[in-house]
Structure formats: C-alpha cells, structure tokens
C-alpha cells in the first residue's frame, strides 16, 4: 500500500507541470554535496502535508487513496517550479534568462534581447534549437495576437535573420574549439 501511495505521489510530482516535465533532473547518487553545470548544488526542501482524521471502521475511498497523494505530488511540483523561476530570475546565464516588459507592450525586442544573451545550439541540418519560453497566460494571449504582425514585418524578419546568423557563427566558433591541441 505504501508503494502504491508513493507511486501516486510521484506521478503527481512528475506529470503535472509541463515546464518541469521538460527539465532534466540530476540525481545525486552518493555524498552530501554536488556541483552541476559549474555551480554548487543547493538543495531546498519541498514540503506538503496530509492529515487523516480517524474514522470509525472506515478507511479512505479509492478516489481519496489514489487522488490525495497525486495532489500532494502536484503541490510539490508547484513548489519546485516556483523555486526554479526564482532562481532563473536572479541572474542570466548562457542557458536561462528572464524577460520582462510593461503589460500590453510586448515587442519583438523582448524576445530578441533574451535570445541574444543566451547560448543557442543548432542541429545537424543547421536549424536553431531555440530555448523554451515560459509565459503567463496573459502574456501568451498578447504574444499570440501580435505574432502574425511580427512575422509579416520585413524589418522584424531581418533582425531575426541577423540574430540567427550571429548565433550560428557563435555556435560554429564554439564547435570549432572542440579539439585537441598541443
């Protein structure tokens, strides 16, 4: 029963947040400290609680037994992703950055500025592997509404193409450094 309870909780933890689902997880196997990607790993505790009031000759319903741990897992996932956003917003890195703009004034510059500061890789066909952008529902509506206009704008296209070429050059320079030298 404990095993089933835990599995439901992990299903909630691992299957409910789309951003978290896309992120890789580093599992530490031994020791009390770790470094990852050049930084020191700083573990934070996620905590959820469950209280069961004693019932006379009556256990939990199946829905309760399977649903409560799933919900607890989902709450833990929510805590995790909140922490991720706090960390990302602290300092831009080649792999993550935050975007901000006054409400209602989302422009292509916001994207261009963000991508400009990041490391972009390309696949074997030369297609850029863009990072995932996470937007609030309100921002998403705003971006979706403006996207056709940007795509049709020659100046915007030009700037986008220039960014891709700069990133491609940076990528090739990085890849060219992957060699053994004397």
């Amino acid at each position: 029963m404990n095993d089933l309870w835990n599995r439901c909780m992990f299903a909630g933890l691992n299957g409910t947040d789309p951003v978290l689902n896309d992120m890789q997880v580093r599992v530490q196997k031994e020791g009390h400290a770790a470094s990852y990607g050049g930084g020191e790993m700083e573990y934070k505790t996620c905590k959820v609680e469950f209280k069961f009031d004693a019932r006379n000759a009556q256990g939990m319903t199946r829905e309760e037994f399977l649903g409560i741990p799933f919900k607890m897992g989902a709450q833990m996932a929510e805590q995790q992703i909140r922490h991720v956003f706090v960390e990302v917003a602290k300092e831009p890195t080649p792999h993550s950055t935050s975007m901000s703009w006054p409400t209602g004034h989302f422009t292509p510059d916001v994207f261009l500025k963000a991508w400009e500061s990041m490391e972009i890789n390309f696949d074997d066909q030369g297609i850029p592997k863009w990072p995932t952008a996470v937007l609030s529902p309100e921002a998403m509506v705003e971006v979706e509404a403006k996207m056709p206009e940007w795509l049709a704008d020659p100046e915007c296209q030009q700037r986008w193409a220039e960014l891709v070429e700069r990133k491609r050059k940076e990528f090739h320079e990085r890849e060219a450094r992957r060699r053994l030298v004397e």
């Binding site: 835990n6 439901c8 909780m9 196997k29 009390h32 470094s35 890849e175 992957r178 060699r179 030298v181």
Partner: protein
C-alpha cells in the same frame, strides 16, 4: 536461537564455506594463520597455523558426519596430512607440527577407533598423531565468538533474516549485505572490541554466504568477501588502532574473496562453461560472459602480480573468441570495471593492439551514447545489471519515473579517456574529440579516502566536469600520468591484488585515482612506454 541457527548453517555448509570462520576461531585463540584455502600444493593441509607456543598445526577440513568408510576413503589424503611435513615461507626453520582432521559433523565410534589405530602406527614411525575436531566443538567456538554481535533490534533482525533465508540461486543482495556487515563492525571500539567485531563480521559473512557456497555461486561469494574485507579495513582505519587488531580478519576475508575468484576462473575455463542450457535473453548471457571473463582476467592478473606461473592462454583464447563474436557487452557504465580489467590483461601479455582497440571502442560508444541530449544513454554505474537489462527490454515500470528527464552525464568517460592518454592514443582520441567534448563528466570524491571502502558513501561530493575547449593534449597527459594514489585508502594502495578485486567487486565505484593506480601497478610497461 543463535545456537540453532549456527548449527543449521554448520549442518549445510561445505568445507570451503567454513574455512574463514574456522581460521577466525584460531585467530581468536592467538594462533597465526599462515595459509587458508584449498590449493593444488596443499598436501592435505587446508589450513596451516602457528599456535602461541610455536607448535605448527595443519588442518584438513571436511564436512558432515565421518564414518569409518569415509575415513578409509580419505586415507591417502590423511597420510599426506600426517606424513608430509608442512612447507610454507612463513614457517620457522625448525618446528614441530600437529595434524588435525576437522569436520562439521561427528565422528562415528568406529572412525575414532580407526584413527587410534592409525595413530599407533604413525607414532611407531616417529610421526605426529592425528587429532580430531568435531562439529560440537566447532559450534561452541563459533557461537561464543559471535555471541555479542547478533542483531537485536527489529530492522537489523529482519535484514539478517532476509539475507540468511535466500536459496543461493539468485545474486547476493550486495548493498543489503554490505549494510549489515558494516553495522557489525562499525562504531567506536577498543582494540579488543575491534578484534571481536572484525571476527564477528567474518562469521556473519560466512553464515550469509552459506547458501551461495551450497550453490557454488563463486561470483556472489567473491563479492561478499571483498565487501566484508572492505568493511573491516574501514573500521580498522577509523578506529586508528594498530593494524594487528583487524588485519588478520581482513586478510581472511580478502583471501576468501580471492579463493572464490580463482574458483570462478577455473569454472570459466571448464568445458562448455558458457553454454546456455535454459531459456534466457542474450543480453543477460552477454553480461554474464563479460563479468565472468573480467573475473577470470582479474584472477590471472593477481597470479601475475604474485608471481604464480599460471598460463594466461586459455583465458586469452576465450577473450579473443568473445571479442570476435560480439559476445562481450558494455551494458551500462557499470561495465567499465569489467572492460578495464580485460584490457589490463591484454596489455600485460603484450596484446596492446587488441587492448587499445577494445578501449577505444568503449570510448567511442560512451561518447556517442552519453551526450547531454541523448535519449538512450548508458545507465549510470549505480544501476545493477538486472535493472539495466530490464530497461533494455523495455519492461521498466515507468509510472512516476522520470528517467526520460534525467540529465545525462558519464562517470566512466574521464577514466577511459585518461587510460587512452596514458597509452598515447592521441590520433584516435582526436578523431572522437568533438563527440567526447560534448559529454558532461561526473566524478565522486569521498571526504575521507577510507570511506570509499563502504558500499554507499554519504560523506563526499559528486562533481560535474567538462573537458576544456580546446583541450590541451599535454594537459590531458599531465593529468593522466599524475599520481593520485594518495586519494585511495592505504589498504588499496598497499595491496594491488586487493585493489583489483575491489575494482571488480565494487563496479559502481568508478574512481580516476584507482584506475590510474591500477594502470600503473598492473601494467607498468604501458605507463613507462607512454611516459617516454
């Protein structure tokens, strides 16, 4: 209950299975054990020990009840035991010896009577008389030696019961076994307590390995003894008492492992040893082929280190055949220790070309499979062989499992690349470098080197590394040739044979310092050549 359990174990164990505990009873009485274990040159003497009064005792170990007919059947061996003077480099120039027949059962009255008659005849010829030790005496000594160390709290009792009640047909649950043994031998100890705890660790290891002795599962026996030896050495180093208080027990466990390793090698060299008789998936067969031949290679390397004149050709023939037919399998990063052991054997016999080809095939494979975006990375070395095979067959229970989201790195690539750098394989590495440089490297460092001997180490750091871009070949060579052996426990540094067995028995413990140390001491020629 304790006595019943030891009695039950004693009634089932074969003579090889109680060599270590028997020697432990001798050590407890102040004897110095100079040889323990069957060998072709034993001349009826399984154990040789020097008593505190200087008398040399030679023991032949049997199991079960001994009747007169049984005794008569073993008469040639008994004659050798009594008549052939023991020979061992540790024995003094002049000594008196006493032959003893030991069994786990009882002697029938006619058997005792026959020994009396034989003794009369040996005495007439000025030969020593044969003494007898039976199961009751053994039982009393074993029970008294382990008396204070039986698990008392519920989790430890449950753990002991689970470990003891296996049928020996599956693999030893090494992690659980290691935890149990570490608890017996761990904690603060006076010198006397350390001696008793170390002895108890060996006794309990014997009890728990009993089912595997019954099934002649040499692989499980080997790992059990090496883990036990590691736990004793760690406790000894932590207690900081003179090694005299733990080393004899360590040595018994270490030699118990070596005996099992050699038995596995002998089995591997038998006719049709690798024939598959029952339904099993080929991935499993290839994993077993790889581990068995790594164990055989390890035994051969130890023979070479110890100067034993063992012919490597039968092992090399099988290795060549398995390489040609694709019968080896790098199933996950845990296979690193198997492959490196086989590579070292090829190197020591001058087959460097084959060794290098095998090494570079693994470097290529890991660099292709373990890049950060890989969807099919090799399992890390902490995943057991069974776990990896289940994943390969796509039968992993994936509910709530986010293995698909795990970041990919490699524990084995850095030691593999540095082995190649030690062998001056620059052009081969250059060809693979764009791939290699993409892989994130991981290594584990224990805070205290002695903790590396524990199966699971809580005190240490896992570190992520990456090769430089561009990477200097000279820098790589410098790291590859730098002596890091001070990061290893003394018991590994001082005993290359134990170091080899440790590497094979602890496949999750992929250590750069251990790999370089073994490459230096096992294959000095390659290191010397590469330093030029």
């Amino acid at each position: 209950m304790k006595e019943r359990l030891v009695e039950d174990w004693l009634s089932r164990i074969n003579e090889r299975g109680y060599e270590v505990p028997f020697c432990q009873t001798l050590i407890a009485k102040g004897y110095r054990v100079v040889r323990c274990g069957h060998s072709p040159i034993e001349h009826g003497k399984d154990v040789i020990a020097i008593a505190p009064d200087g008398l040399v005792y030679c023991y032949q170990l049997k199991s079960g009840d001994v009747a007169q007919t049984e005794l008569a059947k073993h008469l040639p061996q008994l004659n050798m035991l009594v008549e052939a003077r023991p020979s061992h480099p540790s024995l003094p120039a002049d000594f008196k010896y006493c032959p003893v027949l030991v069994t786990t059962g009882e002697y029938s009255p006619p058997a005792v009577s026959l020994v009396k008659e034989l003794n009369g005849s040996w005495k007439d010829r000025s030969l020593p008389e044969l003494a007898l030790i039976g199961g009751r005496q053994l039982l009393a000594e074993l029970v008294s030696l382990s008396d204070d160390f039986w698990p008392v709290d519920a989790p430890a009792l449950r753990q002991f019961r689970e470990l003891y009640l296996v049928d020996g047909r599956g693999d030893l649950e090494v992690a659980q076994f290691a935890k149990f043994i570490a608890e017996i031998v761990g904690g603060l100890s006076t010198p006397r307590e350390l001696e008793r705890k170390s002895a108890a660790a060996n006794l309990f290891a014997s009890y728990l390995l009993g089912p595997f002795y019954e099934e002649a599962d040499h692989w499980s026996i080997f790992r059990g003894w090496i883990v036990c030896a590691g736990a004793i050495a760690r406790a000894g180093a932590q207690a900081e008492h003179d090694s005299v208080h733990w080393f004899p027990s360590f040595e018994l466990a270490r030699n118990g492992g070596l005996t099992a390793l050699r038995a596995l090698r002998d089995e591997a060299l038998g006719q049709d040893a690798f024939r598959v008789y029952q339904r099993e998936v080929d991935d499993y067969t290839r994993v077993r082929n790889t581990i068995t031949m790594a164990a055989a290679a390890c035994a051969q390397l130890i023979d070479q280190i110890e100067g034993a004149d063992t012919d490597p050709d039968p092992i090399l023939d099988i290795i060549a055949d398995f390489v040609t037919r694709g019968r080896f399998f790098f199933w996950g990063e845990r296979a690193f220790s198997s492959f490196s052991t086989i590579i070292w054997l090829l190197d020591t016999v001058g087959l460097s070309e084959q060794a290098n080809a095998l090494l570079m095939s693994v470097v290529q494979s890991v660099s292709e499979r373990n890049h950060p975006e890989s969807e099919e990375p090799y399992d890390d070395p902490y995943d057991t062989e069974d776990e990896s095979i289940i994943k390969l067959l796509g039968r992993e229970d994936s509910e709530g499992n986010r293995s698909n989201r795990r970041s990919v790195q490699s524990y084995s690539l850095l030691p593999l690349v540095l082995l190649a750098a030690r062998r001056n394989l620059r052009s081969q590495l250059e060809a693979l470098w764009p791939r290699i440089s993409h892989v994130r490297l991981t290594r584990f460092r224990a805070d205290a080197p002695i903790d590396l001997l524990s199966w699971h180490c809580d005190k240490g750091r896992e570190e992520d590394l990456a090769f430089e871009q561009p990477q200097s070949w000279q820098g790589l060579r410098e790291v590859a040739l730098r002596d890091d052996s001070d990061r290893l426990p003394a018991v590994i540094r001082d005993d290359p044979a134990f170091a080899l067995m440790f590497a094979v028995a602890y496949p999750h413990r992929i250590l750069l310092s251990l790999t370089k140390y073994l490459d230096e001491v096992v294959v000095p020629a390659s290191a010397n050549q590469s330093k030029q």
